[in-house]
Assembly symmetry: C2
Homo-oligomer: 365 residues x 2
């Protein structure tokens, strides 16, 4: 079933009067009838700021989520936010706007939901930092010197979470985790250096909060997205439905270790862009999106993703993220630059001897 058809079925089942969809599905017959169907960004924005909505869940994928986040926050909504790009690209704008309108941001990402839960019981001044867990992604056991040439098929077999292709590649590079660090920075108002990432293969401990006395709180359970989604929907009340009851007696062995920088160069690049600030994180994630697309089309190697991100950051520099227009302009420009770098790498690989494309820098622009 196409998404638009499924939407129509669900809208009917739950008596939903209004939906909004992307332009590409506009003519879909399944959406005719009683249902009021809005089309495109304007309709999404109207829905997110609908006076009747007391909770907005933004689970849009990619940069399309940002205007919707902005609309919900401007309208002072409680916003359950699953769209990473909103905070990675415009965290400063979104959170300062939320501060003015009283909009409350409730995380939906598994890690951030866990942190949110741990934070609820802490006293003022008790939290000194947070620790995000990372499964290490599908390539965690590959010898480091084979990472650069990992095959698309190997990358797309994620060990614990079943997700889309883009996010699975981002999980193999830890770009997804680096984006979560940025999200956490904005959601929980913490400086970057107070946010750590620990590799935890089993994905049982979803994340941890550091306390002033040196101890930590953690939230754990089966890797099941229904848990954080339900939590956001019910918040601040106790979520009602019990999923898989997780039994610590059967937990067996849990492993924890540091992130290896040489295995995950993209992780360091995204964090460096966060330290740079301004439009840099936007540039970095836009370049990543272009590079991942090219990798999935087998135009560049896995190791080239870092090359594209680094090269795009070099070319683009940084500017102030003073409004959404500036952010979107930085994104557009970064995509164009990244596409050029991709073409350059793909061209060299097609004409030069196989395997000689640089993985440590870009000098073709």
């Amino acid at each position: 079933m196409k998404s638009a058809e499924l939407l129509a079925v669900q809208a009917k089942q739950f008596g939903v009067p209004r939906v909004a969809i992307g332009k590409e599905a506009a003519g879909d017959a399944a959406l005719e009838g009683d249902l009021e169907v809005g089309v495109g960004e304007e309709a999404l924005v109207a829905l997110a700021s609908d006076p009747e909505a007391d909770l907005v869940v933004n689970a849009l994928v990619g940069t399309a989520g940002l205007p919707v986040t902005a609309a919900a926050v401007r309208a002072g909504k409680r916003l359950a936010i699953a769209n990473k790009e909103s905070l990675v690209m415009a965290g400063g704008l979104v959170t300062s706007l939320a501060g003015r309108t009283g909009s409350e941001l409730i995380p939906v990402d598994s890690e951030h939901s866990s942190i949110f839960r741990c934070l609820r019981g802490t006293a003022s001044g008790e939290v000194t930092g947070i620790v995000l867990t990372a499964s290490g992604g599908p390539l965690r056991d590959l010898p480091v010197d084979e990472m650069g040439s990992a095959a698309v098929e190997a990358v797309l077999s994620h060990p614990t979470w079943d997700m889309g292709e883009k996010i699975t590649v981002d999980s193999a590079t830890l770009v997804n985790k680096a984006m979560e660090v940025l999200e956490a920075m904005w959601l929980f108002d913490l400086p970057l250096e107070r946010i750590d990432v620990v590799v935890h293969r089993e994905s049982v401990v979803h994340s941890l909060v550091r306390l002033r006395d040196g101890s930590l709180l953690a939230h754990l359970g089966s890797p099941d997205m229904r848990v954080p989604i339900q939590y956001a929907l019910f918040y601040p009340d106790a979520p009602g439905v019990s999923f898989d009851e997780f039994r610590p007696q059967e937990m067996g062995t849990l492993n924890f270790g540091p992130v290896e920088p040489e295995r995950y160069p993209c992780f360091g690049l995204i964090l460096a862009s966060a330290r740079e600030g301004g439009t840099s994180p936007t540039t970095a994630v836009a370049a990543d999106e272009v590079a991942v697309g090219a990798f999935l089309e087998r135009r560049i190697r896995f190791g080239d993703i870092a090359t594209v991100i680094a090269g795009t950051l070099d070319v683009e520099g940084t500017g102030p993220a003073k409004d959404l227009a500036a952010v979107f302009e930085a994104e557009r420009s970064a995509r164009a630059t990244a596409a050029e770098i991709v073409n350059d790498i793909a061209g060299r690989a097609a004409h030069g001897p196989a395997g000689t494309a640089s993985t440590t820098g870009h000098s073709g622009v």
Copy 2:
């Protein structure tokens, strides 16, 4: 330095006007001077209900703690409670009294402090149970069929916590953990069947709280008693002093598994006494104390501790724990019975062939 001398030094250092000590140290010269020194139970009770005290910390060892707990609770104090026996023997009396006076019980035991911390952030109705972690004690790796004849020296080398002899033996039998289950039952008002114990060798996860959606909250860190003690002293504010900062990146491997009933027969006996209710837990822990003393004196074997507890429970039966007098009478009677059983076992071991003392029941009374 003797404890009484240390008490005098500390009282002087912190400008404490009044102390109370046990009878045996009454004549100690170190306690002369400005300091007002009370002696015996009456003095302890007076101190615990002192109108000037806004927090009472009861860290007395053994049954001597119970009258002090009762006095503090009767006076409506906030009571930081490290004395297990108060709740194991008279949890129903203590908690119903606290309900009437508004006295607040703050746990000091590491596991219970962790649960208390996890509970703070949960919504009403969200908690479905708790999970106490147990290191498994010093004999956790011994073949099960060698447990019965474990040497005193082997038992006294606890892997993670450095504690007194009695509690270390109780850690080897899991009696200590079973007592913690009873404590938790009263402190957190949960039925016994909602309290699980999981063996966790590394003692890093101090305990967990089960949530309605199937996930769990946990508190973790280095095994350091200063952490829960400080938490109780500062509660409800954030504790001020940072001890060892625990780094999850260096956590390595954590193991979790079920309690093996055949390895820890005493654990089952104490829990069975808890299900029995009334004076039964008092009988069980009094018998344990006698048996552990006899084991430390090398009069009975490690495996006989269970025999003494089971035999004493058989002989004593159960009665209502209607007041402290009934509890203390049950304790006195259980001690006498347990001592008889110990004498019987020790006598048989001295006269019969070595290693034939029963470890599964007692028929000598």
